[in-house]
Each structure stands twice: as structure tokens, then as C-alpha cells.
Amino acid sequence: MKLLEIKNLRKSFDDLEVLKDISLDVSEGQAVSILGPSGSGKSTLLRCMSMLETVDGGSMAYCGKPAVTDGKYVSKAELKEIKSYFSLVFQSFNLFPHYTVMKNICDAPIHVMKRDKKEVTENALALLEKMGLSDKADYYPYQLSGGQQQRVAIARALNMKPKMLFFDEPTSALDPELTAEILKVLKELAEEKMTMVIVTHEIAFARSISDHVIFMDGGVIVEQGKPADVIDNPSNERTQAFLKKLEQ
């Protein structure tokens, strides 16, 4: 089943066309990585998918429900429903500094989704254990390392019980050793067949966990396919040039 279908997506900032005719599909259980140089439009694409930016044209559908058709968004009520299908993990975590770890993870499920407090709390404790943060439930974000904060942010996103999870360069704000922590968590999620779209600079990581890799440059998808094809054996010269630069 296709959880995300994007067709002919266009997005401009003033005169600058950032996304030109982007089409892609994400199937249930797939881990999709989006690679590309800075300014290629990959983060903008993810922000459009997360509805933090409005698109100028094209169509998007989530779990078969159209959210945008030819640049026109569906009603607010329908969008609210659709927005609960996905969650996003930010590059800079964006935890609420005045909430404890536990409250960060539980507040929205309880007060936005109106789910049972006990169920939400139990789920949160299970998620914290999975993230190796069982002892940090009562800590405030500033008392945690960047890697721990990002794991809390992932737990917060998962506690919303989304059908798919988007990651916007989840390790770019972290030291290499903390990056490994996060990549391990993502790998576990991929093994559990969590549907994910990950914008990343970690090529080796993208190769190891993705079912599908998308390479973007200049606002278009230059190449996509199996990681073995796109990363190890790129056919497009822009992909080749980008990967070659990284090797140096």
C-alpha cells in the first residue's frame, strides 16, 4: 500500500524555484533516503511533505487520501486528520525546554489526540526504554546531550503513533559519536518496518538502511532506485560528481 504519493510537486520562494516537478511514492514499511548537495531542495521537499511549507503546484496524498490536488489543499478538518498520519523529527530536535522528557513525549497525545492518559504514559515509558533513556523521564532537555535529546524527539514523534515518520537531517546537529546513537535507533526502526523518509548526508547509513534512495539536485530528482544502484553505481553524472566529492 502506498502511504505517500507525490506528483508533479512545485515550490518557489519568490522568484527562486526550489522544487521543480517532483514525483515520488513511499510504500508501507519502506525506508526512503533523500540525498543531495546543499540547496538541492531536499529539506524543502520534506517540509512540504510535513506541511510546514505550502506547495505552489502538484498533488500529495497520504494513505490514499488526497491532501493537495493540483496545488489546491483540502479543507482544514481533512488536513487535520491527514496531519495525524505523519510526524517529523527535526535537525535541531525542537523539544520544549520547559517540559520534562516525559511531558514532552506525552503532552500532545493526551491534549491534542485526547488519548487515554494511562495508555499514553505506558507507551511513553516503553519508548523511553527502547531509546535507552528510562532513567531520564524527569529530566529537562538542557540536562541531556544532543544525542539523548534527539532520541527523546524521536520518542515524542513515535508516541503520536504516526503511520510514517519524516526525518530532516536528524544527525546534522550532532557530533560523530552521537550521530551513531541516532543511526542505531533509525536502523532499529527500519528493521521494524516503520515507514520513513530521511533527508540525510550520511551516505553509508543511507546505503545500509534504505529500501529506496532518491538523489536530488537543483530542485529535481536526478536519480532514484535501490541504494546499490544509486550510491554504488550511479548512472547520472551529477550523482557521480556529488558522491565523488564526498569520497575525497
Binding site: 527535526f90 520544549f96 525546554p97 491534542v112 515524542r156
Partner: protein
């Protein structure tokens, strides 16, 4: 230096002066607390108006803030007190003197608070808004749960400054002959030819502000549970 014209200071004289000056303290405290009561929430509304995406509203509010900040509070008090009669021929009652003081002070301080709130709200990182968006918070939930607590922490030092200034500004009520502590102190000083009442008044302001600063520092410490 002559403290009294006849140059003798007895305990009785001092006690008498303190007692007389203190008769104005109630009025000063009244101005202080009522001004805070009205201007702190009003400032929030003005801040929202100032940040409104509806251009005419934000421009009007901007002009309002500009005028309030650009002219003396003393002048504003005179306008509020005399304006109704001289501009609109509305007769004012003697009670109005007190209301004019509270209205003038509240409108003035609300403008300053509004700009402080605005700075505090705009200092909340964009990422916090985006996290709220992704988690599905409503606008009200976002403001009360996420923006407001962080704004308060951001602005406490600036608010302390304003509150301390307000303590001293209460003396400006004399401009429309509203009798508060400093007015009494000046009257006593003139009547008894002594500077002592002014010292008493000064000490009162200082102690009052010492308490204000102490309390605000406690609140700031309380907000230090997060960074």
C-alpha cells in the same frame, strides 16, 4: 547642613513627619498595584495588535506605542484628566482625578509592556512553533503551553526594570494634583521648612524597590528550572 530651619531634630518631630508622609503611601500603593493590574494584561492585547497580520490594526497600534513612548507621562496624565472637558465638553467629577491617574498610567505602561512582550514572543525560536505545528497543537494551545512560559522567562529582567520605574513614577500623579506620598512629603517639607520629609519619601521609594527587586529575583530563580 540645615535639616530643620530651627536646626533641631527631635524624635517627636521625626515621628510626626514620618506619620504625615505615610498618609500618602496608600495612594501611591494604589496607583502602583492598579496600574500593574490593568497594564500587564492590556500590554498583551496591544502586543497582539502590534504583531497582527491585519496591517491597519498593527499600524494603529504602532502609532499608539510611538506616541505613548514619545511624549512625557506627565503630559499624558494632563491630557487624560483635562481632555474630556476641553476636547468634548464632558464635565468631570472630583472622583475622576483618581480614575485619570489610573487610566493614564495603565495606558502608558501597557505600551511599554507590549513592546517587552513582543520582544519576548519573537525570541521564542521558530522551531518551537514548527514542533507545535507537527504535534497538532491549536493556536491557543501553542500560545499558552509553549510560547507564554518561554516568553515570561525571556522578559522577566525587562519587566523588573519597568516595575521599578513605575514605583518612582507614581510621584508624577502630582501633575494633576492627585495627592500621593510624594505630594504629601513636599507639602510637609514646605510647611515645616525642613528637607526631612523628602528623605523619608526617598527612603520609602528605595525600600519599596528593594522589595520589588527581591521578589522579581525570586521569580527569576523559579523560572530557572529550564534553559
Amino acid at each position: 547642613m540645615m535639616i530643620f530651619a530651627d536646626d533641631t531634630l527631635t524624635f517627636e518631630k521625626l515621628a510626626d513627619i514620618v506619620q504625615q508622609v505615610m498618609t500618602g503611601v496608600g495612594a501611591s500603593l494604589g496607583i502602583f498595584f492598579l496600574t500593574l493590574l490593568f497594564s500587564l494584561p492590556l500590554g498583551m492585547l496591544i502586543a497582539f495588535g502590534r504583531m497582527s497580520r491585519f496591517k491597519p490594526l498593527s499600524l494603529i497600534v504602532k502609532l499608539y506605542i510611538s506616541i505613548v513612548r514619545g511624549t512625557p507621562l506627565m503630559l499624558q496624565l494632563l491630557v487624560v484628566f483635562f481632555g474630556p472637558y476641553y476636547l468634548f465638553r464632558i464635565p468631570t467629577t472630583p472622583d475622576y482625578r483618581f480614575y485619570a491617574v489610573i487610566i493614564g498610567f495603565s495606558l502608558n505602561y501597557a505600551a511599554y509592556f507590549a513592546e517587552i512582550y513582543r520582544a519576548g514572543i519573537q525570541a521564542v525560536p521558530k522551531g518551537q512553533h514548527e514542533a507545535c505545528e507537527i504535534l497538532g497543537y491549536s493556536r491557543a494551545q501553542k500560545f499558552f503551553k509553549v510560547v507564554f512560559p518561554q516568553m515570561m522567562k525571556n522578559i522577566l529582567p525587562a519587566i523588573t526594570n519597568e516595575v521599578i520605574t513605575l514605583v518612582k513614577d507614581t510621584s508624577l500623579a502630582f501633575a494633576i494634583a492627585y495627592t500621593e506620598m510624594f505630594t504629601v512629603a513636599k507639602q510637609v517639607a514646605a510647611a515645616k521648612s525642613t528637607i526631612m520629609p523628602l528623605f523619608v519619601a526617598g527612603l520609602f521609594y528605595y525600600v519599596f524597590n528593594f522589595v520589588v527587586a527581591f521578589i522579581m529575583e525570586r521569580i527569576e530563580k523559579k523560572m530557572n528550572y529550564f534553559r
